[in-house]
């Protein structure tokens, strides 16, 4: 029996419809590719500008004075590393505790207010966080790694809190009930059953928060200030990559400008490594 249905594109309107759909897909693809362009451009530019100044001295030596050649950013690398680490020690437990509270006990009015405050904190410009820590700590104790790390932790706090909350909320309630039904207290259900079950996702959230704070400049200007040398202690002004890049880039001396590019490259690489590392970790967890 010959079918009366015609399933092939024949008529003019059909053809027009198909063309239109292809056109729209084409435009969307173009815009999506365009969105990648800044990323590719920045990476290529930073690499080409910075790679030439990346040598052993860059990682091991202090900056030389203006006009001199050579030297490196060892103080800034160490300072950034120290402050990001201190920020993590403060910000991760603090943010996770807040996130756990919001997800697991976040029913009442208090929690709603807290959640709103966390959201507001996320959108507070980072320079304002810097000024806040300046008024809270720096005025009394001076510029220091402590103050810098605290400012970074305040920026990290809401990011970690909200990602922790969202991740825990994805766990269906019957898993919590299964834990409770085993005669396990609620706090242990959270820490020993829910958290281990989503460690991969939690780590991802934390990594992205670290990548975010590692590049912050504005809050450090007001808190850690910067330092031409290694800081002797955590209570002294401390150099950091973003601030040093900023200072060198506007110095007007070609040699320092070249080092600023190298510093930018290190920062970008750090963020890449964190992102790739996170992905590799998730992949490893899955298999």
């Amino acid at each position: 029996m010959a079918s009366k249905l015609n399933l092939k594109v024949t008529s003019f309107t059909d053809r027009k419809r198909k063309l239109k759909s292809q056109l729209i897909i084409g435009v969307l693809l173009f815009l999506a590719l365009l969105a990648c362009f800044p990323f590719l451009f920045i990476s290529a530019y930073v690499i080409s500008k910075g790679i030439g100044s990346l040598d052993w001295a860059f990682f091991t030596q202090l900056p030389k004075g203006p006009g001199e050649t050579g030297g490196g950013m060892a103080n800034a690398i160490l300072g950034s590393g120290t402050m990001v680490l201190m920020c993590c020690l403060l910000g991760i437990p603090w943010g996770m505790a807040a996130g756990i509270y919001l997800s697991e006990y976040g029913e009442g009015k208090t929690a709603r207010i807290l959640r709103f405050a966390t959201d507001l904190l996320t959108s507070v410009p980072s320079i304002v966080v810097g000024i806040f820590i300046y008024g809270l700590i720096v005025i009394y104790f001076g510029f220091s790694a402590h103050a810098g790390a605290t400012a970074l932790a305040v920026i990290m706090l809401p990011i970690v809190a909200r990602s922790t909350e969202e991740i825990l909320k994805l766990i269906p309630n019957h898993i919590r009930e299964a834990g409770l039904a085993l005669g396990i207290p609620r706090w242990k259900v959270i820490l020993r059953i829910l958290v281990p079950g989503c460690v991969g996702a939690l780590v991802t959230g934390v990594m992205l928060a670290i990548a975010r704070v590692a590049g912050e400049t504005a809050p450090l200007l007001f808190t850690a200030l910067g330092n031409q040398f290694f800081a002797d202690s955590l209570s002294q002004p401390t150099a950091s990559l973003p601030v040093q890049i900023y200072n060198f880039a506007k110095s007007g001396f070609p040699d320092l400008e070249r080092q600023a590019w190298a510093g930018a490259l290190i920062l970008v690489l750090f963020v890449f490594v964190i992102n790739f590392g996170t992905r590799a970790f998730i992949y490893y967890k899955k298999s």
Partner: protein
């Protein structure tokens, strides 16, 4: 042991203002399997969740009345719901192994978090629970694999093992086979019958053949009330209440 392991007196359960379980009295003997049947929404789940104090964990939920477990009122003053739940295990409708935990850890977690640390004790308890839940031969070579990687029926037996591992005298099961295929269902039914030697089982089921295959007594619920409770054979052949008869013969519900 003889006598009543569970005795429920005038139990009422609420979700905010909604009265879900009304004035239920019911008792369960040691080594008995009791089936709860009734149309959807009649309060069976709510009722059994009052027996391990899980009902109160739902925001806005509360209940009144007494539940005597081995002679002690679980709603008495100073009773810790956590301790109650260690003595009244539960298996849910949907298999819910803990994500991220291995098969071994899923079974061991109850004991471990109750303070058992000795490895030999834990592995013995895990093996025993897995054997009782008829899962041991299937998983003994992959105890380190995640529990969520098992099939649905295996996951449900894993959940039974998890509940058994802490050795509660009573286990509640809320439609434990409704998400499973007939073969897994048969396995679990067989298992329940065998468990009778060790534990008392209260099971909710929509499957009347299942109720008659495994239970000694059956309770019929309707709109939050316990309509009829008695020997399963009698409930299914000569029910006393017209509503029970109508439900059993499929005339409503």
């Amino acid at each position: 042991m003889d006598g009543e392991v569970l005795k429920v007196e005038k139990l009422n359960a609420y979700f905010n203002d909604f009265h879900a379980v009304k004035d239920v009295d019911l008792s369960v003997n040691y080594h008995e399997v009791v089936a709860l049947i009734g149309p959807s929404g009649c309060g069976k789940s709510t009722f059994i969740r009052c027996l391990n104090r899980l009902h109160e964990e739902v925001p806005g939920a509360r209940c009144t009345g007494n539940v005597w477990l081995d002679g002690q009122n679980i709603y008495g003053k100073g009773v810790d719901p956590v301790v109650v739940r260690r003595n009244v295990g539960m298996v849910f409708q949907k298999p819910n192994p803990f994500p991220g935990l291995s098969i071994f850890d899923n079974v061991a977690v109850g004991l471990r978090l109750a303070g058992v640390t000795k490895k030999s004790v834990l592995s013995e308890a895990v093996e025993e629970a897995l054997r009782k839940s008829a899962l041991w031969t299937e998983v003994k070579d992959k105890l380190k694999k995640p529990g969520t990687g098992l099939s649905g029926g295996q996951q449900q037996r894993l959940c039974i093992a998890r509940a058994l591992a802490v050795k509660p005298p009573v286990i509640l099961m809320d439609e434990p086979t409704s998400a499973l295929d007939p073969i897994s269902t048969a396995k679990i039914e067989e298992l329940i019958v065998e468990l009778k030697n060790d534990v008392t089982v209260v099971i909710v089921t929509h499957n009347m053949q299942q109720a008659s295959r495994i239970s000694g007594r059956t309770a019929f619920f309707l709109l939050g009330e316990l309509i009829e409770y008695g020997k399963t054979s009698k409930i299914f052949t000569k029910p006393q209440n017209l509503k029970t008869e109508q439900y059993i013969t499929g005339r409503f519900g």
